[in-house]
Point group: C2
Chain length 201, copies 2
DNA sequence: TTGACAAGTCAACACTGTTTACATATACCT
DNA sequence: AGGTATATGTAAACAGTGTTGACTTGTCAA
């Protein structure tokens, strides 16, 4: 009943396992990239990979497991933006947000951004936002208000991502790029201000 | 083949029509409120309303038509926040956003907020954000940069709404309410600054 | 050779939203 | 009145979906 852990201890893993796993994952990646998560069915992925449908669930538990794995492997949402000097954090984040606003990044990133609202993926993205965005930011920031600061940063960043999906949001893209980056950076810096200051503008 | 426009010119409409329409809509409202859009099937709504499933599509075109109608009737997203003095707009918006952050508002509002990501509802919410949020804001603000300003405001507001769905976002709710309102208000005011000012902090 | 077990297959299950063809009742008009 | 067009309601199916369980095949070890 209990399976010996995956590939056991031999030199090469049981040949089929990792090979099929990889083929399924590659197909999912390609199809999700081109058509989005919700528009691609399990059967379509299986057919594209030349494997049986049931194997998706065997190897990834469920359809959403494919996306979880893609997020994990590719590190689609880079936590690496926190790497770098502290005093340039907001600049880095602003550049990142604006580049996303322009629909830059890999096709997969774009596709997964667009699929982020799917109910089936809710828990996946929820966990991902927490573990790959808010928590690293909070840790990077430090201080007693780190979590609140990180959440405010996330609000602005996620909000910008969301507005991109709205028709007519191109108005922001048509502006001078440096202008909008600078404004976003100002917003992010305001997010980080200590909360003790009572003097609102 | 071509139907005379609905109820023709008579005094009272054909009795069944509006009655069943109303019953379906009431059932949808109740079920969406308690279980969310995605978790409630057409058949469940029909059964709850005591009508045939096909009537949902007859009267509302499709399932999403029910939600469109609910949004329209209830005015779930109030455009009325723009009513009031100009110099208090950001305060009103900030209070609104923070109250949403605390999960206040009607149960239906909360439920629909949570269902906003559903792919089936994407076009509905997209149109609604544009027509009930960005455009009224832009018109209210005026000026050559009205659209960019409105989009930035929307980013912050939508971002806050989004962060609410994340576990551990309670950190913002645990703070003094007035403090967070004030910070959000500062963010919104920064969104409205002219873009000509080149002096970033 | 004989097991044991992993890998792969097939067909079904329980759903979903939606549509089509049909039955029924209502209202109007001659 | 009768007859008919039309609005309203019904039943059943369609074409999908994700997922599961029972079965067959293949491969390696004792």
């Amino acid at each position: 009943m209990d399976r010996p852990d995956e590939t056991g201890g031999g030199t090469g893993p049981t040949r089929g396992r990792e090979a099929t796993r990889a083929r399924i994952l590659a197909s999912a990646k390609e199809l999700f990239t081109n058509e989005g998560y919700g528009s691609v069915s399990s059967r379509k992925i299986a057919a594209h990979a030349g494997v049986n449908v049931a194997l998706i669930n065997r190897y990834f538990g469920a359809k959403r497991g494919l996306l979880t794995e893609l997020l994990r492997e590719d590190g689609v949402y880079p936590g690496l933006i926190v790497d770098g000097p502290h005093d340039q954090l907001t600049r880095r984040l602003a550049e990142h947000a604006v580049s996303r606003l322009h629909g830059e990044g890999t096709a997969l990133q774009r596709a997964l951004d667009d699929s982020a609202g799917d109910p089936d993926l809710r828990s996946v993205y929820q966990g991902r936002i927490t573990s790959a965005m808010i928590e690293p930011l909070a840790a990077y920031l430090g201080g007693p208000e780190q979590r609140a600061h990180a959440l405010l940063l996330a609000s602005v960043l996620l909000g910008i991502a969301r507005v991109r999906l709205v028709e007519g949001a191109g108005a922001l893209c048509e502006m001078e790029r440096e202008t909008i980056i600078r404004r976003v950076q100002e917003l992010l810096e305001l997010c980080l201000k200590d909360f003790e200051d009572g003097d609102a503008a």
